[in-house]
């Protein structure tokens, strides 16, 4: 982003910088971002192709979901930002209601209660909705106020963020809880939250760590953290995932063992190879070069997303778009850090690459919102 671009973008205020309405402005689509996302998705599908280990049905299912995700992006991009603005509090409150309902009536899968079900009709995960609803609510709250926000407003924002994050954490779904929390905090950071707040938070968290350890974290969560520091303490139990994934990545070396050639992935040593641990498949088969390419793609998408956010026609739009981009990054970071053994194991998929529909659709809808705030006229 050159400085002159930046200057032009400011004038005339609120309108697209290059005011000559191009075709994609009318379609409310950013071609560069779509292109980058498509390259990422295509790259991801190649790796998934290997990770499904010949299971055509799974691969085709993922192709379908990606189609739906594209539709979600296009639809979300057509909706003007002020609609999101008006709906933000409503969606947030509805989401909260659902989360409370999950706590009492949710369906349990694999020991955690995350799903709401209308039998015979539909079944969905309210926490997924909160990934979009929380940053929207915070942006809605802050857009009327002068920025940087005063302490009082900041505190209210923290409440807006923390309540759903805690409810999700209770399910328990630590991964989504972190993502929702990160999405909300992203808005605050972009809104100009004073750095001293950030500093103090870190100090408080470090100070409270022993208390968190003792009273907040569940036994299995403590075990995961311990495992991170010494995977060999329980090589066939908690340590298995991390040992096998670091082995997969490490054995890949610079250029990898070749696509479809990963022994860790194809001989069932690697757990969750096509979902949360797909980056290990990539690391094993395509090596450091393969993952580096992936990270560069992500970086380009983040850069383009943030630039689009700066071009938005309103504070709400800027905050929302920026927050989505940062949430996307949190996804990425938590997943890769977990698989490579920097962070404890939490269930976070690799955005737009891991097998699974919900998160891909949410994320693409998020990118649709980013394009919406960029391409719609200021209001």
């Amino acid at each position: 982003m050159s400085n002159t671009d930046f200057q032009r973008s400011l004038s005339p205020y609120g309108a697209p910088a290059d005011s000559a309405p191009r075709w994609y402005f009318r379609l409310h689509i950013d071609p560069i971002l779509v292109a980058l996302l498509s390259v990422l998705i295509a790259y991801g599908l190649v790796v998934l192709r290997s990770a499904v280990d010949g299971n055509e049905a799974l691969f085709n299912a993922q192709l379908q979901r990606m189609g739906i995700a594209y539709i979600a992006l296009i639809v979300a991009a057509q909706i003007p930002p002020h609609f999101y603005l008006r709906m933000a509090p409503l969606i947030y409150l509805l989401g909260l209601l659902f989360l409370v309902l999950v706590l009492f009536f949710g369906v349990s899968v694999k020991g955690s209660q995350r799903w709401l079900e209308v039998p015979g009709l539909l079944r969905f995960q309210p926490s997924e909705l909160m990934k979009l609803a929380v940053p929207m609510a915070v942006a809605w709250y802050l857009q009327k106020r002068s920025l940087p926000p005063r302490s009082k407003y900041t505190l209210i924002c923290l409440v807006i963020i923390t309540v759903p994050a805690l409810l999700i954490g209770r399910q328990p779904d630590l991964g989504t809880s972190i993502l929702v929390f990160g999405a909300g905090i992203s808005v605050l950071l972009l809104a100009g939250l004073a750095w001293r707040w950030v500093l103090w938070s870190v100090v408080v968290i470090v100070a409270a760590a022993p208390l968190l350890w003792q009273f907040v974290l569940e036994g299995y969560q403590r075990q995961r953290i311990l495992t991170l520091f010494d995977p060999q303490s329980d090589p066939l139990g908690a340590g298995w995932n991390i040992i096998q994934s670091t082995t997969a990545i490490g054995s890949g070396g610079l250029f990898g063992k070749g696509l479809f050639q990963g022994s860790q992935s194809h001989l069932n040593f690697l757990p969750e190879a096509r979902t949360d641990f797909i980056v290990a498949v990539m690391g094993e088969e395509l090596g450091f070069v393969g993952i580096a390419l992936l990270l560069v793609l992500y970086l380009l998408i983040i850069a383009r997303g943030l630039w689009l956010a700066t071009q938005a026609g309103s504070t709400f739009g800027r905050l929302l778009a920026g927050a989505f981009v940062l949430t996307f990054f949190v996804y990425l970071f938590v997943n890769v850090a977990m698989v490579s053994g920097i962070l404890p194991v939490v269930g976070v998929p690799l955005p737009l690459v891991s097998y699974g529909g919900t998160s891909a659709i949410t994320l693409m809808a998020g990118f649709g919102v980013i394009m919406s705030v960029r391409t719609h006229k200021a209001w």
Partner: protein
């Protein structure tokens, strides 16, 4: 635009957002940098560690069993074959709870209690980790099918195809060929643990044991890729095992069978040699055992019976049965007498059926002795003493000969030592002399000992194998051979058996030295005379009372080739002075052993043999017909082969 919004300083807010966005982007780059560092650590700096960890995860080195060399008889008929058998193997490391798995297997395959115990035993003797260990041999087809269906319940269990030994001729050739047994820990102490790492059977008896090294071959390796459940997905880097060498023995399975038929269930042994080479044409020991049961495994009860039977079927009488040679020893005594000048062909004595040493009361009886003193062979020279088997003549001769001369001469024929080149387990027999007697019994050598030795009794002991060497030495007119089972070795490649296997002159053929006995005083004429005397044993007939060769009546009347032989009847228990031998009153194991040694044809002999029938009775009546049956089979074959002497007729035909 609403008024309250315009109060906000939009430009300033945009600027703030841009600053923050840039800051966050820098943070993003830093955090991705952290991840990149971690990836560099895993994938570049510690790559080797993780690479080998990954390989250890899924690549196992497997050993490949070399196919054991086949064993053929001299005409290429299979004596020891390899057959495919489906076996159950388990890899202990891949099984969580061994007892659960074994319980499951027991139900699934309906295993007996013994088989269960066997599995545990074999698991405990497991030698190397991560090696699939064979715990059940020879699964039935339905067992294999049930295992296949329940595969998912049984991680670490595999059905493997194993080559196991099969002896098509079973007990007929059991003692000659020997047998293999399951490899034990004890075997592994002596064997090369690397070469035997994939081997389940080892030669334990006979040829199988002696030529173990050649038959075994060299172990092969392959790398196997296994999944997280331990199942082999594919193999690569295969270094095929080198199959063991195939053996061709001198043995002729037809002679072997003829011998078994002729013995007709009686206990005994037959050893037939090719006098030109020492090659063992037949080696029969009865009763025998079925070597296949050692391969398949047998119940304790069966093994106990085999071991404890008073008929000792596991005992190789042909090589390890030691018996007094009786009258078959007489040709040696005669030749010794000639060599040392104690007698001549012309010297004659009067045989009245008994012999006494001067000044002693003890009477040494001829076999024709009777209580009324009407026995004896009349006037006897050496030739008549052989074909009439006069004891008196040889009592007299031995009593007049220095014992050391007789012992030395008998030793030249291989008595008292194991001459066999590839039968190390064979017994030495016993060639007694004064030194031995002093040591073993604490008694001096009495003249009576020499007298007894003159007719092959006393302490003298020989194995049928040794007596076959004696027969061969006589057949060769003094040329002694060393018995050998092996004719040649060759590569166990089916093609080479068909295409290139000629009868002789190949690289694998072993040499057969013939040692000419270095006795200057025995000239060729003496040997020829002795051969003639032995020919009379078989062929001299129609001579009236006490005029015929001892074996003529039993085998000599319808014989259409010339055979030389000598009968022997060895006492097992001493008959009291003045008592007659009465078979009816003696228990089965106290009756006389029947011997016959022979060779044929008299000119240019091609077979020399010794037959022993344990507690069988008279040598001429019992053992000679057995010898004749074997030689008949041999001669028939020689005649059948003779017109087709061209090399092509000798082609070695596989199977």
């Amino acid at each position: 635009m609403a008024l309250e919004l315009s109060i906000k300083d939009q430009n300033q807010e945009v600027e703030l957002f841009v600053r923050r966005a840039i800051t966050m982007f820098v943070l993003v780059v830093l955090m991705l940098g952290l991840i990149a560092l971690r990836l560099l650590e895993l994938q570049l700096w510690n790559h080797d560690t993780y690479k080998s960890r990954s390989d250890d995860n899924h690549i196992r080195v497997q050993t490949l069993t070399p196919p054991r060399g086949m064993i053929y008889d001299r005409y290429g008929r299979l004596l020891a074959d390899n057959q495919n058998a489906a076996s159950l193997a388990l890899t202990v490391e891949d099984i969580d709870e061994l007892s659960n798995t074994i319980n499951l297997l027991t139900d699934l395959l309906q295993l007996s209690k013994e088989q269960r115990t066997e599995i545990y035993e074999r698991v405990e003797t497991s030698r190397r980790p991560d090696v699939a260990l064979v715990v059940i041999d020879s699964l039935s087809e339905s067992q294999v099918a049930r295992l296949a269906v329940n595969r998912h319940l049984l991680p670490g269990i595999e059905v493997v195809n194993q080559l196991v030994r099969f002896y098509p001729f079973g007990r007929v050739a059991a003692h000659a060929v020997g047998s293999v047994r399951r490899l034990t820990d004890e075997d592994l102490r002596d064997a090369d643990p690397v070469q035997y790492s994939a081997t389940t059977f080892i030669g334990k008896r006979g040829v199988e044991a002696y030529y173990e090294q050649q038959l075994h071959g060299q172990v092969g390796y392959q790398k196997a890729e296994t999944d997280a459940l331990g199942r082999v997905r594919k193999t690569f880097d295969v270094q095929s095992p080198t199959p063991g060498k195939a053996l061709r023995l001198h043995l002729d399975i037809d002679l072997q069978q003829a011998g078994v038929v002729a013995l007709d269930g009686r206990r005994g042994a037959i050893v037939a040699l090719d006098p030109r080479t020492g090659g063992v044409l037949a080696m029969v020991s009865q009763p025998a055992y079925d070597p296949n049961i050692f391969v398949a495994g047998m119940t304790e009860a069966v093994f106990a019976e085999l071991r404890s039977s008073s008929y000792v079927p596991l005992f190789n009488r042909a090589t390890n049965g030691q018996y007094a040679p009786g009258s078959t020893f007489k040709p040696i005594v005669g030749m010794a007498g000639l060599a040392y000048g104690t007698t001549t062909w012309e010297q004659v004595i009067e045989d009245r059926g008994a012999f006494q040493l001067p000044g002693q009361e003890r009477v040494y009886r001829d076999w024709s002795w009777t209580k009324d003193n009407s026995g004896g062979q009349g006037m006897v020279d050496l030739r008549r003493a052989i074909y009439r088997s006069s004891n008196t003549y040889f009592y007299d001769l031995a009593s007049r000969m220095p014992i050391k001369d007789l012992v030395r001469f008998a030793g030249e024929f291989g008595l008292g030592t194991n001459l066999a080149l590839d039968i190390p387990a064979a017994s030495d027999g016993l060639l007694p002399d004064p030194v031995w007697k002093q040591g073993a019994k604490g008694l001096p050598w009495y003249p009576g000992d020499s007298v007894n030795m003159g007719i092959g009794q006393g302490d003298l002991l020989a194995t049928p194998l040794q007596m076959a060497v004696v027969a061969a030495t006589l057949a060769n007119r003094g040329g002694r051979v060393s018995p050998r089972m092996l004719l040649e070795t060759f590569d166990s490649n089916a093609d080479s058996i068909d295409a290139t296997a000629e009868f002789a002159g190949r690289a694998g053929e072993v040499s057969h030295p013939v040692t000419q006995l270095g006795l200057e005083k025995v000239n060729a004429e003496d040997w020829e005379n002795m051969v003639q005397a032995m020919e009379d044993v078989v062929h001299l007939g129609n001579q009236g009372f006490r005029g015929n060769g001892t074996a003529w009546a039993y085998i000599g009347q319808d014989i259409d080739y010339r055979m030389a032989g000598k009968s022997g009847t060895a006492q097992v228990v001493e008959i009291s002075q003045g008592e007659e031998y009465d078979e009816e009153t003696l228990s089965e194991f106290d009756r006389k052993h029947a011997w016959f040694i022979a060779f044929a044809p008299v000119q240019n002999p091609t077979i020399a043999l010794a037959v022993l029938v344990e507690n069988g009775g008279g040598g001429s009546s019992v053992a000679a017909p057995v010898a004749r049956a074997v030689v008949d089979a041999h001669m028939a074959k020689q005649q059948a082969l003779a017109p087709r002497a061209a090399p092509s007729s000798n082609r070695f035909v596989a199977r």
